[in-house]
């Protein structure tokens, strides 16, 4: 690195470029210099975009649009979709009821072993779902260490039922809600909670009337995220609940089996899921698509 100023290397005057009127306006408004991307960055970026987008385009192009209605109607699609929707909604509801208090405990208390607890409850985020399914089976299966007694004492058998689907989905999806809400609780201004306390509110009232309303946006985002994850759940579900049409065969599992027997139906089912995903992205656009770090 010599001390030569950029653009003045060697001899002669600096070489000017031509700035069009549009670019001049752009720079005047946003400030800063050039925004052109150099090729070593631009080319890999385009490769990445192609890799992510081309398969989805393939899905749309390849879809048998003309017979769509008949195929969807004749297949297990409607049943699978209905099952998927209600199980993932129920899983989200369960996650809200127990996951939000868990997030609060993680964010607001200093119980001993909290760090270990946090690691444990976020483990399903990184755990291969199929491992989660095996674990659930070992715990709640007919020979599992809990399932055995449920079966013997109450005659309750969980595996390969819709209950198992909900449990598998909750297991995999709840950490998304917990992590999102915990982060929001940590970032929330504790001053409001102090203010509420000086106004006479006990801890539960503070939670209900101040803390919760203030993290509502994150709560909603966490719930949507959790729901989407539950909807897409495959590995844990098929391991713990199997694939019985109408009872445990959710959309992703239906897609997987349809691919062998009826590829057209598989494509259409995938499209339905794609549509749902796009809807979720739109719902969360304020949170993720703004390009901010919030």
């Amino acid at each position: 690195m010599s001390g030569t100023p950029p653009g003045r290397r060697g001899s002669g005057a600096p070489r000017p470029v031509t700035l069009g009127a549009r670019e001049r306006r752009r720079r005047a408004v946003t400030g800063g210099g050039s925004r052109t991307a150099p090729a070593p960055l631009l080319v890999p970026a385009l490769v990445a975009v192609a890799f992510l987008v081309v398969p989805l385009v393939g899905l749309v192009v390849r879809a048998p649009w003309t017979d769509a209605w008949d195929i969807l109607h004749g297949s297990q699609a409607a049943t699978a979709l209905r099952l998927s929707l209600w199980t993932s909604t129920l899983a989200t509801a369960i996650a809200l009821v127990v996951g939000v208090p868990l997030a609060w405990v993680l964010a607001r208390t200093d119980l001993p072993g909290l760090r270990v607890l946090r690691a444990l409850v976020t483990l399903p985020l990184v755990l291969p779902p199929v491992v989660g399914g095996v674990a659930l089976l070992l715990a709640f299966g007919r020979n599992g260490f809990l399932g055995r007694y449920l079966d013997q004492w109450f005659g309750i058998t969980i595996p390969f039922s819709s209950t198992a689907v909900v449990m598998a989905e909750t297991f995999v999806a709840m950490p998304f809600l917990v992590v999102t809400v915990e982060g929001a609780l940590r970032a929330a201004n504790r001053g409001y909670e102090d203010a509420a306390a000086t106004l006479g509110a006990g801890r539960m009232t503070v939670f209900r009337r101040v803390t919760l309303p203030m993290v509502t946006p994150s709560l909603a985002a966490g719930a949507v995220l959790c729901w989407a994850r539950a909807l897409g759940e495959f590995g844990a579900t098929i391991t713990f609940a199997g694939s019985f049409p109408g009872r445990t065969q959710t959309m992703p599992i239906a897609v997987y089996y349809a691919l062998e027997t009826d590829p057209d139906a598989a494509v259409l089912l995938s499209l339905v899921l794609l549509l749902v995903s796009v809807a979720i992205l739109v719902a969360l656009r304020d949170r993720w698509l703004r390009g901010s770090t919030v």
């Binding site: 001053g191 203010a195 509420a196 306390a197 000086t198 106004l199 006479g200 509110a201 009232t205 309303p213």
Partner: protein
């Protein structure tokens, strides 16, 4: 105003926060407005936090209306939610998701009133503070002055026995501040319990308070009425706040020998030993030659080190034995050609010197 006054507030507080220690004792009678004045980091806000129960005491106790709120000795502690204390925070902390009305109704409601009753109480307070037309607004649609008044209404709606205000006007711009200050003074006069007001603005303290408690470095360094404090500052910090020159020295009959070795001729006084001498900047005369025959008993040479334009006068910073701040007119600056580095003579009449004993910080 004894420590056991059953009707008022009495505090002996020791609070540790990291390396900082607050050790302060103070009392306030019902209806009295006490301003706790001190620089940033002096422990003012910590003191309020301790009174509200947000920060537990490490030593001492807090007694309000004969009820022990916190006693580090026997471990008794009343949770913040159960203290009859109204707190107006520096940043107001109005709940962003509630309307102004529901913010003010919050305290009555969580203290057991029905939603309707609480709102009626809130509407009443908003009316009294002239905020009725704002009741349906969200806090983010309020101006600073309005938010301040809503915060006060919210604190008062809980029917507190003790009112705490943390830098109530510091978040306001200069123009709003005067309006809100006048109004706040009226509302504080209506409040029947003791009121503690924390500020670093001496003017705010002088205007709003019946009594001043000056806190420095976690210790009470001076207490008194605004007039007493303004006339006889106990520390350099207070002197600077009220705009006086302050010197420490030893009294010896009609002269005081200052700590830097110089001496002042002072008026009759009854002090002995260590004393403080206060001198108004406008009581000092500046001349460019040594005054010959003058009635001023104190003359000494000094060098101008700085000039600051105050609205209608110029404050000179002078280095000498002793150093001094002196106020002169802009015309005098021009005529005498005063500028940094200029050597001048200062003179002060003995009667303009206020001599008083050093008070020892309590607490």
């Amino acid at each position: 105003m004894t420590a056991d006054d059953p009707a008022g507030l009495s505090v002996e507080a020791e609070v540790h926060r990291g390396a900082f220690t607050l050790r302060a004792a103070l009392a306030a009678t019902p209806g009295e407005v006490v301003a706790v004045l001190g620089p940033n980091g002096s422990g003012k806000s910590t003191l309020l936090g301790a009174l509200a129960g947000l920060v537990p005491l490490a030593g001492g106790r807090v007694v309000l209306e004969g009820v022990v709120l916190d006693d580090a000795g026997d471990g008794r502690f009343v949770e913040p939610a159960h203290r009859p204390v109204g707190f107006v925070f520096q940043d107001y902390r109005l709940f962003p998701h509630l309307s102004v009305l529901d913010n003010v109704a919050f305290s009555p409601q969580v203290r057991g009133r029905s939603r309707r009753e609480a709102r009626a109480v809130a509407a009443d307070w908003l009316e009294r503070l002239g905020l009725a037309e704002l009741s349906r607004r969200r806090p983010d649609r309020l101006s600073g002055g309005q938010a301040q008044r809503v915060a006060l209404a919210r604190a008062l709606a809980g029917d507190p026995s003790l009112l705490l205000l943390d830098e109530p006007l510091s978040a306001l711009d200069a123009r709003t501040r005067l309006d809100v200050q006048a109004e706040l003074r009226r509302h504080l006069a209506d409040f029947t319990g003791p009121c503690l007001l924390v500020t670093h603005d001496p003017l705010e303290a002088l205007v709003l308070a019946d009594r001043l408690v000056v806190l420095e470095d976690g210790r009470v360094v001076q207490e008194g009425t605004p007039a007493e404090v303004a006339r006889r500052p106990a520390t350099e910090y207070v002197a600077r706040l009220v705009g006086l020159n302050l010197y420490t020295g030893t009294a010896d009959g009609p002269t005081v020998t200052l700590d830097d070795g110089s001496a002042f001729v002072v008026p009759d006084h009854e002090e002995h030993g260590e004393v403080l001498v206060a001198l108004r900047p406008s009581a000092v005369t500046v001349s460019t030659t040594a005054p010959q025959a003058s009635s001023a008993r104190n003359t000494w040479p000094a060098t101008v080190t700085g000039l600051t334009l105050l609205t209608d006068r110029v404050r000179l910073d002078l280095d000498g034995r002793p150093p001094a701040l002196v106020d002169v007119t802009p015309a005098a600056v021009a005529e005498l050609g005063l500028d940094a580095g200029r050597e001048v003579w200062l003179s002060a009449k003995a009667v303009d010197l206020e001599v008083y004993g050093r008070t020892h910080p309590r607490g």
